[in-house]
């Protein structure tokens, strides 16, 4: 089925991103309204394309009417549809939060819209070079937003992210260049067929795969390529940290999965068992290292950041295993992690705005002072651990199930062990929040004024969603038809 709306959902935020900047000439603080109108409209359009995918199967659109494989193709299938939905939901949800929490400048919302356009672009493109361009647009947007904290620390964190992130994207481009030299094409479906013709054991094919994994590994922030990420998350404003942590690594991980599964295909992984186990253990290493580093943190934002390193290890391991169960687990976890981690950062923001506390030991007793936000934090954090029936459990379960089915029992053991580590730092934090002796700043109720009911309602809604989505997640497995994506 063809659907021109696939192009519109990218173009709309790009065009809208110009409006706040131009509007700055006569009015400040109008960016938020522009962003709300554009992104709510975009969410409706995304809802419409996802619905036509659900009813009519895989969608595809040739940009500008230039025939594939010469032109650029946009597509929507079972792998990208959930990611597209989560982008639509989180981009609107975070806006509700930044209404009061800020930043409020027009240029911030231009960056926000541009970032959203990049995220949507990465998700729907079916051309590997176009993917590079959208990854860089996403990167540019993310660097600019992280620097919107306005102080030197956030500018430095953004610069560090820019340097490392650009090298990552460039390594991906080298991989693309190698694949292009080997095959002469950039369209994903066409490339996939021609790579098989060149031969999966061919040196240039293997080299291109290695460059792509290393490059996107930087963007996903897998251990040991994660060094930019904790600084970037902890130096940026909470609204930005929530948005970036929820979506930027998510679409990079999606891109990684897309390239592994539909360009190189599971057949490539079967033909090169060394590459396949290398990829799985790369993920497993990240799961363990991320959890261990998270346990060692004293700052709540850094703890959440390192926990992402671990969660994305799980997702990449699921893609690396490459069977239907593990890939479904990865997709569910991509979706679930985005909601959980984004909302956790926003909740940490509520607590920080209210009491001015950011460190673990300062969190003592906060949950008793802000019961709703505290309860939301607890539910989201327990979902992150993987307590059933929350969505965090479903993703982990399917990845572990896929690992056992593929005979990778070690990965299942690693997932279980990291769950215990996650429980360790989450339980310690929750214990302090509920039963700790409140320090002065918390005991007197805090002096922050920037927390509104809407912000609290948003995170409570997110915590209800992660629990409610858990049991229904398995039901969408058939709709996504991932077997079709994997070429099975």
């Amino acid at each position: 089925m063809t659907d021109a709306l696939l192009g519109v959902v990218i173009a709309l935020p790009v065009i809208a991103s110009v409006v706040p900047l131009v509007a700055s000439f006569w009015r400040e603080e109008i960016g938020w309204y522009v962003a709300v109108v554009a992104l709510v409209l975009n969410a409706v359009l995304i809802g419409s394309v996802v619905r036509s995918f659900v009813s009519g199967g895989i969608l595809s659109h040739e940009v500008g009417g230039v025939a594939v494989p010469y032109g650029i193709e946009l597509a929507l299938d079972g792998l990208s549809a959930p990611v597209l939905v989560v982008i639509a939901v989180v981009s609107v949800g975070t806006l509700a939060y930044t209404r009061t929490a800020g930043p409020r400048s027009n240029s911030f919302y231009s960056g926000y819209l541009l970032l959203t356009a990049g995220l949507v672009g990465v998700t729907v493109t079916a051309d590997v070079f176009n993917l590079y361009v959208f990854i860089e647009i996403t990167g540019l947007g993310a660097y600019a937003l992280i620097a919107s904290g306005g102080d030197g620390r956030s500018a430095y964190a953004a610069l560090k992210y820019l340097l490392v992130g650009t090298v990552g994207a460039s390594l991906y481009l080298i991989g693309i260049a190698y694949a292009f030299v080997a095959t002469g094409t950039l369209n994903m479906a066409d490339l996939s067929a021609r790579l098989a013709d060149v031969g999966y054991g061919d040196t240039i094919v293997l080299a291109s795969f290695a460059f792509i994994i290393a490059g996107l590994g930087v963007k996903v922030a897998l251990f040991p390529l994660h060094t930019w990420q904790p600084d970037a998350y902890s130096a940026s404003p909470y609204g930005v940290a929530g948005y970036v942590s929820a979506l930027v690594s998510t679409v990079a991980a999606y891109a990684l999965g897309r390239v592994i599964l539909t360009v190189y295909t599971p057949g490539f992984l079967t033909a090169n068992p060394v590459v396949s186990s290398g990829l799985i253990y790369f993920g497993a290493l990240s799961i363990v290292a991320g959890s261990v580093l998270a346990v060692l943190q004293t700052d709540v934002r850094r703890l959440l950041a390192y926990s992402s390193v671990s969660q994305f290890g799980l997702i990449v391991a699921g893609f690396g295993i490459g069977n239907t169960a593990s890939v479904f687990g990865s997709v569910v976890h991509l979706f679930g992690h985005a909601v959980m981690k984004g909302a956790l950062f926003l909740t940490a923001g509520i607590i920080a705005y209210r009491f001015g506390v950011t460190r673990l030991d300062e969190y003592a007793g906060v949950a008793r002072r802000v019961p709703y936000a505290g309860a939301a934090f607890a539910v989201l954090a327990l979902s992150l651990v993987g307590v059933p029936p929350a969505i965090g459990f479903v993703g982990k379960w399917y990845v572990a199930l896929g690992a056992v089915r593929a005979g990778e029992t070690a990965v299942a053991v690693v997932i279980f062990a990291s769950t215990l580590l996650t429980l360790m730092y989450v339980a310690r934090l929750l214990d302090r929040m509920y039963y700790g002796e409140a320090p002065e700043a918390v005991a007197d109720g805090g002096g922050g004024t920037r927390v509104t009911r809407g912000m609290v309602a948003l995170v409570v809604l997110a915590s209800v969603a992660v629990v409610a989505l858990g049991p229904s997640a398995s039901a969408v497995q058939e709709t996504l038809a991932l077997g079709e994506v994997l070429g099975g």
Partner: protein, 120 residues
């Protein structure tokens, strides 16, 4: 094949490896933030050279199709035009961030900035 014979016809690939190596080394080794950005640019230019040269065909003309003949592949050129635009935007953003960092810390030396930040 020995000596120069080994390298003949691979000048672009050799330049690609050298530029990428020099760029990455500069990014890692230089303490000055501006030099790191210069390193990043050298790294990217090396990459662009590799892609552009992949479309090259000895003795072929530009791809303005006019009857029979050998033409170079124009696709890599188009790609690199796009990649150059991306690179320029990144450089501009990086320099803007560097100005902010300099305003705040009064230095561009990575180690000094780290010291000041740890002291906070």
């Amino acid at each position: 094949m020995t000596g120069i014979g080994l390298f003949a016809g691979h000048q672009y690939q050799i330049a690609f490896v050298l530029l990428v190596g020099v760029g990455l080394y500069t990014m890692i080794d230089a303490k000055n933030l501006v030099k790191k950005v210069i390193g990043l640019n050298i790294f990217q230019v090396g990459l662009f050279l590799f892609l552009v040269s992949s479309g090259y065909l000895a003795g072929a003309g530009p791809a303005i199709i006019d009857g029979e003949g050998r033409y170079v592949n124009p696709l890599p050129h188009v790609l690199i035009l796009t990649a150059i635009v991306v690179g320029v935007s990144l450089t501009a953003l990086a320099l803007a961030l560097i100005i902010r960092v300099y305003d705040e810390y009064g230095t561009l030396d990575e180690e000094h900035i780290q010291e000041v930040m740890d002291g906070d």
